[in-house]
Amino acid sequence: MISCKEVSRLVSASLDRPLTLRERFWLRLHLWRCRSCGNFAEQMNAMRAAMRRLARSPDDPPDRG
Protein backbone atom coordinates (compact mmCIF):
# COMPACT_ATOMS: atom_id res chain seq x y z
CA MET A 1 0.00 0.00 0.00
CA ILE A 2 1.44 3.37 -0.99
CA SER A 3 1.22 6.39 1.29
CA CYS A 4 -1.00 9.46 0.90
CA LYS A 5 2.09 11.53 0.22
CA GLU A 6 3.07 9.23 -2.62
CA VAL A 7 -0.52 9.30 -3.92
CA SER A 8 -0.47 13.10 -4.06
CA ARG A 9 2.63 12.89 -6.26
CA LEU A 10 1.07 10.27 -8.53
CA VAL A 11 -2.15 12.24 -8.89
CA SER A 12 -0.19 15.34 -9.85
CA ALA A 13 1.98 13.32 -12.25
CA SER A 14 -1.14 11.87 -13.87
CA LEU A 15 -1.98 15.39 -15.06
CA ASP A 16 1.33 15.57 -16.92
CA ARG A 17 2.17 12.09 -18.15
CA PRO A 18 0.52 8.70 -18.57
CA LEU A 19 0.97 6.59 -15.46
CA THR A 20 2.46 3.13 -15.74
CA LEU A 21 0.26 0.10 -15.23
CA ARG A 22 1.81 -0.48 -11.83
CA GLU A 23 1.27 3.14 -10.77
CA ARG A 24 -2.33 3.02 -11.89
CA PHE A 25 -2.94 -0.17 -9.96
CA TRP A 26 -1.57 1.16 -6.66
CA LEU A 27 -3.24 4.51 -7.13
CA ARG A 28 -6.64 2.95 -7.71
CA LEU A 29 -6.29 0.61 -4.79
CA HIS A 30 -5.43 3.53 -2.55
CA LEU A 31 -8.18 5.82 -3.83
CA TRP A 32 -10.72 3.07 -3.33
CA ARG A 33 -9.95 3.04 0.39
CA CYS A 34 -8.92 6.62 1.16
CA ARG A 35 -11.53 9.35 1.06
CA SER A 36 -9.02 12.17 1.68
CA CYS A 37 -6.94 11.24 -1.34
CA GLY A 38 -10.12 10.92 -3.37
CA ASN A 39 -10.92 14.50 -2.40
CA PHE A 40 -7.36 15.49 -3.28
CA ALA A 41 -7.74 14.00 -6.76
CA GLU A 42 -11.06 15.80 -7.23
CA GLN A 43 -9.44 19.06 -6.15
CA MET A 44 -6.69 18.62 -8.74
CA ASN A 45 -9.33 18.11 -11.41
CA ALA A 46 -11.21 21.19 -10.23
CA MET A 47 -8.06 23.30 -10.44
CA ARG A 48 -7.33 22.09 -13.93
CA ALA A 49 -10.91 22.92 -14.94
CA ALA A 50 -10.47 26.41 -13.48
CA MET A 51 -7.19 26.95 -15.35
CA ARG A 52 -8.73 25.79 -18.60
CA ARG A 53 -11.63 28.16 -18.09
CA LEU A 54 -9.24 31.00 -17.32
CA ALA A 55 -7.20 30.27 -20.43
CA ARG A 56 -10.20 30.39 -22.69
CA SER A 57 -11.97 33.56 -21.66
CA PRO A 58 -9.76 36.62 -21.91
CA ASP A 59 -12.39 39.28 -21.51
CA ASP A 60 -14.43 37.72 -18.80
CA PRO A 61 -12.94 35.08 -16.47
CA PRO A 62 -16.24 34.38 -14.72
CA ASP A 63 -17.46 32.98 -18.01
CA ARG A 64 -21.07 32.12 -17.92
CA GLY A 65 -21.27 31.08 -21.55
Binding site: S3, C4, R17, Q43, A46, M47, A50, R52, L54, P58
Partner: protein
Protein backbone atom coordinates in the same frame (compact mmCIF):
# COMPACT_ATOMS: atom_id res chain seq x y z
CA UNK B 1 -17.90 28.13 -33.75
CA UNK B 2 -20.18 31.02 -34.47
CA UNK B 3 -23.00 32.24 -32.34
CA UNK B 4 -26.05 33.91 -33.65
CA UNK B 5 -27.45 37.05 -32.07
CA UNK B 6 -24.49 39.31 -31.48
CA UNK B 7 -22.60 38.66 -34.69
CA UNK B 8 -20.82 41.79 -35.84
CA UNK B 9 -21.67 42.82 -39.33
CA UNK B 10 -18.79 42.13 -41.58
CA UNK B 11 -17.98 44.99 -43.89
CA UNK B 12 -15.37 44.89 -46.59
CA UNK B 13 -12.69 45.54 -43.98
CA UNK B 14 -13.89 42.76 -41.74
CA UNK B 15 -15.00 42.78 -38.16
CA UNK B 16 -11.88 44.53 -36.93
CA UNK B 17 -13.17 47.91 -37.94
CA UNK B 18 -15.28 47.72 -34.82
CA UNK B 19 -12.79 49.49 -32.58
CA UNK B 20 -14.84 48.96 -29.45
CA UNK B 21 -14.36 45.25 -29.77
CA UNK B 22 -10.61 45.48 -29.34
CA UNK B 23 -10.89 48.09 -26.63
CA UNK B 24 -13.19 45.79 -24.69
CA UNK B 25 -10.73 42.93 -24.97
CA UNK B 26 -7.66 44.87 -23.91
CA UNK B 27 -8.07 44.98 -20.08
CA UNK B 28 -8.63 41.23 -19.88
CA UNK B 29 -5.64 40.61 -22.11
CA UNK B 30 -3.44 42.83 -19.95
CA UNK B 31 -4.53 41.09 -16.78
CA UNK B 32 -3.82 37.75 -18.38
CA UNK B 33 -0.41 38.68 -19.66
CA UNK B 34 0.56 40.15 -16.28
CA UNK B 35 -0.48 37.02 -14.46
CA UNK B 36 1.58 34.90 -16.78
CA UNK B 37 4.63 37.09 -17.23
CA UNK B 38 4.78 38.84 -13.86
CA UNK B 39 6.25 41.83 -15.61
CA UNK B 40 3.85 44.71 -16.24
CA UNK B 41 5.95 46.39 -18.89
CA UNK B 42 6.51 43.20 -20.84
CA UNK B 43 2.80 42.40 -20.49
CA UNK B 44 1.88 45.73 -22.10
CA UNK B 45 4.30 45.06 -24.96
CA UNK B 46 3.01 41.56 -25.55
CA UNK B 47 -0.62 42.70 -25.58
CA UNK B 48 0.26 45.55 -27.94
CA UNK B 49 1.95 43.04 -30.22
CA UNK B 50 -1.01 40.71 -30.10
CA UNK B 51 -3.44 43.55 -30.91
CA UNK B 52 -1.31 44.65 -33.85
CA UNK B 53 -1.22 41.11 -35.16
CA UNK B 54 -4.96 40.85 -34.67
CA UNK B 55 -5.59 44.05 -36.61
CA UNK B 56 -3.29 43.00 -39.42
CA UNK B 57 -4.90 39.62 -39.82
CA UNK B 58 -8.51 40.15 -38.98
CA UNK B 59 -10.58 39.41 -42.02
CA UNK B 60 -13.59 37.30 -42.32
CA UNK B 61 -14.66 36.88 -38.73
CA UNK B 62 -18.38 36.62 -38.72
CA UNK B 63 -18.92 36.57 -34.98
CA UNK B 64 -17.64 38.03 -31.78
CA UNK B 65 -17.02 34.64 -30.15
CA UNK B 66 -14.86 33.43 -33.03
CA UNK B 67 -12.98 36.71 -33.01
CA UNK B 68 -12.31 36.61 -29.25
CA UNK B 69 -11.04 33.06 -29.45
CA UNK B 70 -8.76 33.98 -32.28
CA UNK B 71 -7.32 37.05 -30.51
CA UNK B 72 -6.73 34.95 -27.40
CA UNK B 73 -4.86 32.37 -29.47
CA UNK B 74 -2.61 35.15 -30.77
CA UNK B 75 -2.02 36.45 -27.27
CA UNK B 76 -1.13 33.02 -25.96
CA UNK B 77 1.39 32.56 -28.76
CA UNK B 78 2.91 35.96 -28.04
CA UNK B 79 3.17 35.15 -24.33
CA UNK B 80 4.73 31.78 -25.14
CA UNK B 81 7.29 33.50 -27.39
CA UNK B 82 8.11 36.04 -24.69
CA UNK B 83 8.63 33.23 -22.18
CA UNK B 84 10.84 31.29 -24.56
CA UNK B 85 12.97 34.37 -25.17
CA UNK B 86 13.25 35.13 -21.50
CA UNK B 87 13.69 31.65 -20.10
CA UNK B 88 17.31 31.30 -21.16
CA UNK B 89 18.38 34.11 -18.90
CA UNK B 90 16.74 32.60 -15.83
CA UNK B 91 18.40 30.20 -13.46
CA UNK B 92 15.46 28.01 -12.64
CA UNK B 93 17.47 25.43 -10.71
CA UNK B 94 18.11 27.78 -7.82
CA UNK B 95 15.54 27.07 -5.16
CA UNK B 96 14.26 30.32 -3.72
CA UNK B 97 13.51 30.45 0.01
CA UNK B 98 9.78 30.76 -0.71
CA UNK B 99 9.95 27.56 -2.71
CA UNK B 100 11.64 25.75 0.13
CA UNK B 101 8.89 27.13 2.35
CA UNK B 102 6.28 25.48 0.12
CA UNK B 103 8.04 22.13 0.47
CA UNK B 104 8.12 22.45 4.23
CA UNK B 105 4.45 23.38 4.29
CA UNK B 106 3.71 20.30 2.19
CA UNK B 107 5.69 17.98 4.45
CA UNK B 108 3.85 19.40 7.45
CA UNK B 109 0.53 18.09 6.07
CA UNK B 110 1.54 14.52 6.78
CA UNK B 111 2.07 12.34 9.81
CA UNK B 112 5.42 10.55 10.13
CA UNK B 113 3.90 7.54 8.33
CA UNK B 114 3.23 9.78 5.28
CA UNK B 115 -0.56 9.74 5.59
CA UNK B 116 -2.58 12.95 6.00
CA UNK B 117 -2.58 14.38 9.48
CA UNK B 118 -6.19 14.77 10.69
CA UNK B 119 -6.33 18.56 10.37
CA UNK B 120 -4.84 18.51 6.85
CA UNK B 121 -7.12 16.00 5.19
CA UNK B 122 -8.28 17.36 1.84
CA UNK B 123 -11.93 18.25 1.96
CA UNK B 124 -14.77 17.66 -0.41
CA UNK B 125 -15.02 20.79 -2.55
CA UNK B 126 -18.43 19.82 -3.85
CA UNK B 127 -19.30 20.54 -7.45
CA UNK B 128 -16.49 22.81 -8.74
CA UNK B 129 -18.85 24.24 -11.32
CA UNK B 130 -20.71 26.05 -8.52
CA UNK B 131 -17.52 27.92 -7.67
CA UNK B 132 -16.52 28.57 -11.28
CA UNK B 133 -19.80 30.38 -11.76
CA UNK B 134 -19.06 32.94 -9.05
CA UNK B 135 -17.18 36.17 -9.64
CA UNK B 136 -15.78 36.11 -6.12
CA UNK B 137 -14.17 32.72 -6.74
CA UNK B 138 -12.11 34.14 -9.60
CA UNK B 139 -10.83 36.98 -7.43
CA UNK B 140 -9.64 34.43 -4.85
CA UNK B 141 -8.26 32.16 -7.58
CA UNK B 142 -6.19 34.92 -9.16
CA UNK B 143 -4.93 36.03 -5.75
CA UNK B 144 -3.84 32.46 -5.00
CA UNK B 145 -2.07 32.23 -8.37
CA UNK B 146 -0.23 35.47 -7.66
CA UNK B 147 0.84 34.04 -4.32
CA UNK B 148 2.97 31.34 -5.93
CA UNK B 149 6.72 31.99 -5.90
CA UNK B 150 7.97 33.25 -9.24
CA UNK B 151 9.66 30.17 -10.69
CA UNK B 152 6.98 27.85 -9.42
CA UNK B 153 4.35 30.09 -10.94
CA UNK B 154 6.13 30.32 -14.27
CA UNK B 155 6.28 26.56 -14.71
CA UNK B 156 2.76 26.04 -13.48
CA UNK B 157 1.41 28.65 -15.88
CA UNK B 158 3.39 27.22 -18.79
CA UNK B 159 1.82 23.85 -18.09
CA UNK B 160 -1.72 24.79 -17.13
CA UNK B 161 -2.36 28.05 -18.93
CA UNK B 162 -0.23 27.78 -22.06
CA UNK B 163 -0.62 24.01 -22.07
CA UNK B 164 2.99 23.20 -22.87
CA UNK B 165 3.98 19.54 -22.55
CA UNK B 166 6.29 18.88 -19.63
CA UNK B 167 8.95 17.80 -22.12
CA UNK B 168 8.78 21.21 -23.76
CA UNK B 169 8.99 22.97 -20.40
CA UNK B 170 12.05 20.90 -19.51
CA UNK B 171 13.67 21.79 -22.79
CA UNK B 172 12.89 25.50 -22.61
CA UNK B 173 14.04 25.91 -19.03
CA UNK B 174 16.81 23.30 -19.16
CA UNK B 175 15.54 21.35 -16.16
CA UNK B 176 15.13 17.60 -15.70
CA UNK B 177 11.70 16.08 -16.08
CA UNK B 178 11.93 14.90 -12.47
CA UNK B 179 12.50 18.47 -11.36
CA UNK B 180 9.62 19.65 -13.51
CA UNK B 181 7.21 17.19 -11.90
CA UNK B 182 8.41 18.21 -8.44
CA UNK B 183 7.80 21.87 -9.21
CA UNK B 184 4.34 21.22 -10.68
CA UNK B 185 3.40 19.12 -7.68
CA UNK B 186 4.62 21.89 -5.39
CA UNK B 187 2.61 24.49 -7.29
CA UNK B 188 -0.58 22.45 -7.27
CA UNK B 189 -0.31 21.78 -3.57
CA UNK B 190 0.25 25.42 -2.78
CA UNK B 191 -2.68 26.47 -4.94
CA UNK B 192 -4.86 23.78 -3.44
CA UNK B 193 -3.97 24.88 0.08
CA UNK B 194 -4.63 28.52 -0.72
CA UNK B 195 -8.01 27.77 -2.30
CA UNK B 196 -9.07 25.51 0.53
CA UNK B 197 -8.18 28.18 3.07
CA UNK B 198 -9.40 31.25 1.24
CA UNK B 199 -12.41 29.95 -0.59
CA UNK B 200 -13.65 26.55 0.46
CA UNK B 201 -13.33 27.20 4.18
CA UNK B 202 -14.84 30.65 4.13
CA UNK B 203 -16.98 30.87 1.06
CA UNK B 204 -18.32 27.39 0.76
CA UNK B 205 -19.06 25.15 3.67
CA UNK B 206 -19.18 21.70 2.17
CA UNK B 207 -19.56 19.67 5.32
Amino acid sequence: MQRGGNAVTEGQDGVIMDDGLLRALRPGMIRFARLQLRDDELAEDVVQDALMAAMAGAKGFAGRAAFNTWVLAILRNKIADAIRLRSRSINISALAPEEEGLDQAFEALFKPNAHWSPQSRPRDWGDPEDSLQRDQFWIVFEACLKHLPENTSRIFMMREFLEFDTSEICKELAISSGNCHVILHRARNALRGCLEQSWFDKGEQTC
